[in-house]
């Protein structure tokens, strides 16, 4: 069955990136415009959720209603507070400033997981602090006093772009590799123990040489991984993929726009998939009747 995509917002300057459902709105990033917009699926209205985001890409909504952003321009994860202010978290990994976070999720415990690859676009400010030699999945955790600490989760990734937790949070899916930087791309899974420590890497799917891998993912109610990837430049083109949790590629739906970026289910019934893109738009699609899973407030 063919998926059809309708543009519901944009175009914005540059790409649209992070996208998340908060139970009421679809929040999405116009990264270069340094804005997070909100789309109301009931009315179709679009307005600003936040301005001056410092090139925030990934957006995550917590069950508590809190909203977090992966600020590529500032090399940090930020917390968009309800009063309109924006708080930093912890941007030091063992005393060193990490790289440029791009994708982000919040688990049931309120821990914030993000991918921390290198980015061809330099961050803001003078280059005082070198980048880490590794690009990893990192996780923020709040202590009893509210202070954040930061831990490294993956030890074998280089340029992780996308991440997703299974519904039981026992499996971490990672879209590894940046084809734009010449890397080979994979979909990986890491089993997580009770503390959330990652076990050995399982490569679930390997993209071909020069093929663009996964930039963003969403989970459906059957545990499938819905993934944005591909490009016009090579391979089978831009697409939304459906993977079984075991990594079997079940479906590939060609996208009528280049560089599918990130995706999230949203809307009242969670049956609409929202996709951001290299052409700076927000698209909606019915996703063949698939239903999403969300940890955000208001989404049962």
């Amino acid at each position: 069955m063919t998926w059809s995509f309708d543009c519901v917002a944009g175009p914005y300057k540059g790409i649209t990136g992070g996208v998340a459902w908060n139970g009421e709105w679809i929040l999405f990033s116009a990264v270069q415009e340094e804005r997070i917009l909100r789309y109301d699926p009931a009315t179709g209205a679009v307005d600003d959720f936040r301005r001056y985001t410092g090139r925030t890409n990934g957006i995550a909504t917590a069950a508590s209603g809190e909203v977090f952003g992966a600020q590529e321009g500032g090399r940090r994860v930020i917390h968009f507070k309800a009063d309109g202010s924006t708080a930093p978290t912890c941007d030091l990994l063992d005393g060193k400033h990490h790289n440029q976070p791009t994708d982000i999720i919040v688990d049931k415990q309120g821990r914030v997981w993000f991918t921390d690859p290198h980015n061809p676009v330099a961050p803001y400010g003078p280059p005082v602090y070198p980048f880490l030699e590794h690009g990893s999945v990192l996780r923020l955790q709040r202590g009893p006093n509210g202070a954040w600490t930061l831990n490294r989760i993956t030890a074998d990734t280089k340029e992780p772009r996308a991440l997703l937790l299974s519904a039981d949070e026992k499996n971490l899916f990672v879209g590894e590799g940046n084809a734009e930087m010449g890397g080979r791309c994979q979909l990986r899974a890491y089993a997580l123990d009770a503390n959330g420590t990652a076990g050995a890497c399982k490569v679930l799917y390997e993209f071909g040489e020069g093929e663009r891998g996964i930039e963003g993912m969403a989970l459906d109610s059957e545990g499938h991984v819905i993934a944005c990837g591909g490009w016009k430049k090579s391979g089978s083109g831009p697409a939304i993929f459906v993977f079984a949790p075991t990594g079997e590629l079940l479906e590939s739906h060609g996208a009528p726009f280049d560089l599918p970026m990130r995706c999230a289910f949203g809307g009242r019934d969670m049956v609409t998939l929202f996709v951001t893109s290299g052409d700076g738009r927000l698209y909606r699609c019915d996703a063949g009747g698939r239903r999403g899973v969300s940890r955000s407030a208001g989404a049962a």
Binding site: R50, Y52, G54, T86, A87, P88, P123, Y124, V128, Y129
Partner: protein, 298 residues
């Protein structure tokens, strides 16, 4: 340690001399800024933005902490009463040390909205305080405070009147950074780190300014952007730029580039004759000597 001078105009030796040696006066910094000489106590003050500290250095004695943490303080100057004024950057205020070194906030909001991140600061002879309000202290790695949200739609140059009123001087800038007056205070120079230029404004009697004009546009591709800016007593303009500190005559013509190593961020004239230039860099603070003195600070 020596530094190179290139782009020399024929007359430049008269201004900067022939001895281009550098003396390291502090290397306890990650990213130093805010250089200012206190002629009363003959001490040199500077900040370490990343190290979150305001320091002072006394010749022959050494360095001492003035304030730590410092809310990632940036530019500094003295007012006419000898009180140290600070562009509070990560803390998003302008504040003053009183004579007893207690701290008083002078500006934190404009039209009800929090300032961006005050960057550099200078005082006019009538006591008005001028500062730039660029956005970097809400973004730059290792330099931010506890609220990173930008609320204002401008990156202003502001002045604080003797009565404590905050007034917008100009909103011409993408990233206003260094600012200084000409020796007669008839001109205000302001540079922009993002557009890599210097603008100059005629200053009115009340401290407001007329429409600005371009003084110099940097096109050199070496690393470094306009940041610190100061005039000497003849009205020549020193400005950090690509590859070092650039020296311009009053018309903007380039007289020389002082290739101080280590990425200079700012500099200030000092010592009793105001013929030393203290340069803050990424990693240390150095001092060199020139022939024509700088405009004395308060």
């Amino acid at each position: 340690m020596q530094f190179e001078v290139d782009m020399r105009a024929p007359e430049v030796e008269r201004i900067i001399g022939t001895d281009h040696s550098l003396e390291v006066i502090a290397d306890n910094v990650t990213f130093s800024e805010g250089p200012v000489w206190d002629p009363r106590t003959r001490q040199f003050y500077y900040t370490d933005i990343c190290g979150d500290t305001i320091w002072r250095w006394k010749p022959g004695v050494g360095c001492e902490v003035v304030l730590q943490p410092s809310a990632h303080a940036n530019g500094m100057c003295f007012d006419r009463e000898g009180r140290l004024l600070v562009a509070g950057w990560g803390g998003r205020t302008v504040f003053r040390f009183e004579k007893d070194w207690s701290v008083v906030t002078l500006a934190s909001h404009y039209q009800g909205k929090k300032l961006n991140s005050p960057n550099d600061i200078v005082v006019r002879s009538d006591g008005q305080i001028y500062f730039t309000d660029s956005p970097g202290g809400m973004l730059n790695v290792g330099m931010v405070g506890d609220d990173l949200q930008k609320y204002l739609d401008i990156q202003g140059v502001f002045r604080i009147t003797a009565q404590g009123k905050l007034i917008l001087v100009t909103d011409d800038f993408v990233y206003p950074n260094g600012l200084c007056f000409s020796p007669d205070e008839k001109l205000l120079y302001v540079n922009c780190s993002r557009e890599r230029l210097i603008r100059v404004y005629d200053v009115n009697a009340d401290g407001s300014v007329a429409k600005g004009r371009l003084f110099y546009q940097y096109t050199n591709t070496d690393r470094g952007n306009p940041d610190g800016i100061k005039c000497d007593v003849e009205g020549n303009v020193y400005c950090t730029g690509p590859g070092g500190i650039w020296l311009h005559d009053k018309q903007g013509n380039v007289l020389a580039r002082l290739k101080v190593p280590g990425h200079p961020t700012n500099f200030g004239f000092g010592d009793d004759d105001w013929r030393s230039i203290f340069v803050t860099t990424v990693g240390n603070v150095v001092r060199t000597r020139v022939n024509v003195p700088g405009v004395p600070g308060w």
